[in-house]
């Protein structure tokens, strides 16, 4: 199986899965298809007696690039602003109207809700606490931030 064929086939499956299921858990579905595609490509090349590590790496990194680009598209505040402009008469909108794409309250509230659903935080009254999973993630991020000198 060539690399291009494997990628095209995985992309086709990914589109099929996304269209057939509800538009949630995009990251999990995408990573699952990418991992299965990588394993299938490596197995096919291994059976054919070809070197498989390099092709598997190229496939997986290209898949990650594709998924990252798509996630950016889904999360794009700029695109939300464009859709507000598109919806308004004369494709014109005020600064205040565009700012509604990411208001202070909605910016925080949407994320609190998502994090609560993902089991990372517990939101009780006005106080927010980390769950063990949330704490592990926060610790991992802090560690990599230190390693890469990000903050």
């Amino acid at each position: 199986m060539t690399l291009a064929c494997a990628f095209a086939l995985s992309l086709f499956c990914h589109i099929g899965i996304c269209r057939a299921t509800r538009p949630t858990k995009f990251v999990i579905k995408s990573l699952a298809v990418g991992i299965v595609g990588t394993i299938a490509l490596a197995a096919a090349n291994s059976v054919a007696g070809k070197t498989w590590i390099l092709e598997a790496y190229i496939f997986f990194s290209a898949w990650i690039l594709y998924v990252m680009a798509f996630i950016n598209l889904l999360n794009s505040v700029t695109l939300t602003m464009l859709s507000l402009l598109q919806a308004d008469i004369g494709n014109t909108a005020s600064r205040a109207r565009l700012s509604a794409a990411l208001s202070d309250d909605s910016g925080f509230d949407e994320r609190y809700e998502m994090m609560k659903q993902s089991g990372l935080i517990i939101h009780r009254d006005n106080t927010i606490t980390l769950t063990p999973a949330g704490l592990r993630l926060a610790q991992a991020v802090s560690l990599v931030r230190k390693l890469l000198a990000i903050c």
Binding site: Y57, M81, L85, G134
Partner: protein, 178 residues
């Protein structure tokens, strides 16, 4: 020529880049994307020059060495753009990640993580929605997607094309924007 020496060379140059970025604290700089991208590209030039010198020296200057060099270049770029670059962006700009780390910091200080305190801490450090919103409003005009005149934003032809293309892509995958 076998591709492994040039692949190993690409990994060595990538390790140089990571070390340099860490020592110079490039991901923490004000212009983190520009600074880290520039350092990454300069070291790519170093990789290219070294690869050519290596091919010359071993007398393997042919089509196969070009393919090996291109594979090395792919590895060098993909390690950065598929893994390191998104993580730097996520760790610095993601509101969710910053909420998590801010709560952890507040808990370490022995305080109670009430919403107002989290919001204040994030706004102070420019990590809240306000900073992100301002940068996106700036991007709209900087990328030519809209013009800004007397407090009003007007979509340009480029903005309309970009919006339609993105809308088509999302509809093919049947996804909704978050």
């Amino acid at each position: 020529m076998h591709s492994y020496p040039l692949l190993i060379l690409a990994l060595v140059f990538f390790a140089f880049f990571l070390t340099y970025a860490r020592l110079k604290r490039l991901p923490a700089s004000k212009h983190m994307y520009r600074d880290t991208n520039r350092a990454h590209f300069i070291l790519f030039i170093g990789y290219t020059v070294t690869s050519i010198a290596f091919a010359e020296r071993t007398g393997a200057w042919n089509e196969e060495s070009l393919v090996a060099g291109a594979l090395g270049a792919y590895v060098y770029f993909s390690l950065y753009y598929a893994f390191v670059f998104p993580f730097i962006g996520l760790a610095r700009n993601s509101i969710s990640i910053n909420i998590l780390t801010t709560i952890r910091q507040i808990e370490i200080e022995g305080l109670s993580a009430v919403r107002e305190l989290i919001h204040d801490r994030m706004t102070e450090s420019g990590l809240g929605p306000q900073g992100l919103r301002e940068s996106r409003l700036y991007q709209l005009t900087y990328l030519g997607l809209a013009t800004h005149n007397e407090g009003k934003y007007r979509m340009t032809v480029v903005g309309r094309i970009v919006y339609r293309v993105m809308a088509i892509i999302l509809s093919v995958w049947r996804q909704n924007r978050l």
